[in-house]
Symmetry: none
Subunit: 225 residues, 2 copies
DNA sequence: GCTAATTTTGATGAAGCGTTTACGACCCTA
DNA sequence: TAGGGTCGTAAACGCTTCATCAAAATTAGC
């Protein structure tokens, strides 16, 4: 899932800071709580996709928080705790925790366990879709839609359009386009470009005569707007 | 879940014995395999509710077994391994493992993690059936139905179709399909693909001449719609 | 070990795609 | 206004990729 929201309930500021940096640099959105009370409140008001819960909270045991959360919260809860006794682990897991990591934990492992939990909770999701007005490009699926209608592109047409989309707003020179799509040996075959640009326009523009997406920069190249 | 069936894939007899006793005294039904090959066979013929998988198998790495299982098996897989490196753990979790325990493990914790995994996998639930118009795919039972009519597929045909179904809407390249179904050594045998795609179409399409499910993306690959 | 099913291989025609050619429109400058 | 340059469009050709059939080789089941 891109941008899954994670709630951190932990009273140690340095742990929260570490988690915040680690998780944010992995494209998660973060919410933080330093106490059990605050954590429950945030979780209830704006349920996150996953909760990282410390057992040793100042106002109330994490075990209790876990039980309260599990009365209604169904998404993954991962326990972070300095307690490594089997009793604590079994208790937390049987109270509904999805996983249990002993502090200090390895951040790579934590991230993997978060991914695993999100995956099996079915929270994961579809591909990143780039939206341009009425054009939607799914780079992972290799598909282009216009007004939710799938557009059939040939291999070369797709390569070319994808290049434009990845460089939106930027003027791409003939040389550059030819080199990227056809290879270094084709940098003076600008006729190729004219043919394929025309084909693309026919497929994606409302009015190919006055193009809105692929703009000609005469003498230089093309620009995707 | 009462009497959940658990498959143990581990080459060490004493570990298997320990697990057998522990799990059976907790009312689980047990199946055992000492090799990767045997494990995959048992899992395919009679899918258990959960799999305990050792990484250090004699004939094939557990990582590979995990990947193969995850091509169709959707219930929990818990890794048991003497490897405690972060690299191993992350790899296993990202390959689809639900949990990872380092040997020697505490039996109480293992049992709790099994309970947790079974719980979050939606224990009682039946096999995950994916519905595509008139096609119904039961990944666990490895069966395909069309209009409630069971379609007989060979092993290779099924592997290929399952890949498509799990990547619905996405263009899968020849390269990718060949690697996943036949192995890395076959990535230029695109003729295989043509033959098997034709066979699949004959079986699942209403009109194999104008396919509705398996779409050809010329020069690139195929897409399941 | 024999038979049937399945996979692999080869051959052939069809379809799709990229390349090429031709030509006309437009703009700028002389 | 003539001419050169850039760009856009259409269509023909030829090559690559694809679909299909069938036979050979291999594997699986009894």
């Amino acid at each position: 899932m891109t941008n899954a929201e994670i709630l951190i309930i932990d009273d140690e500021p340095q742990i929260r800071k570490l988690l915040e940096i680690t998780l944010q640099s992995n494209d998660y959105k973060i919410k933080e709580a330093a106490t059990a009370r605050e954590g429950l409140l945030i979780a209830a008001n704006h349920p996150p996709d996953l909760i990282l819960l410390d057992i040793g909270l100042p106002d109330e045991s994490g075990h209790i928080v876990l039980q309260k959360l599990r009365q209604w919260y169904t998404k993954p809860i991962i326990i972070l705790s300095v307690q490594s006794s089997e009793e604590d682990i079994v208790k937390a897991l049987d109270n509904g925790a999805n996983d249990y990591l002993v502090k200090p934990f390895r951040t790579g492992e934590l991230l993997a366990r978060i991914r695993s939990s999100l995956r099996s909770s079915g929270t994961e999701d579809s591909n990143p879709v780039i939206d341009h007005n009425r054009l939607q490009i799914d780079l992972a699926a290799r598909t282009i839609k216009k007004d939710n209608e799938l557009i059939k592109l040939t291999a070369t047409e797709y390569t070319l359009l994808a290049l434009f989309i990845k460089n939106e707003g930027r003027v791409l020179t003939h040389h550059y386009l030819l080199r990227e799509v056809w290879g270094p040996g084709f940098i003076d075959q600008s006729q190729y470009l004219r043919v394929f640009i025309a084909q693309l326009r026919k497929k994606i523009e409302d009015d190919p005569n006055s193009p809105k997406y692929i703009i000609t920069e005469s003498g230089v190249g093309y620009r995707f707007a």
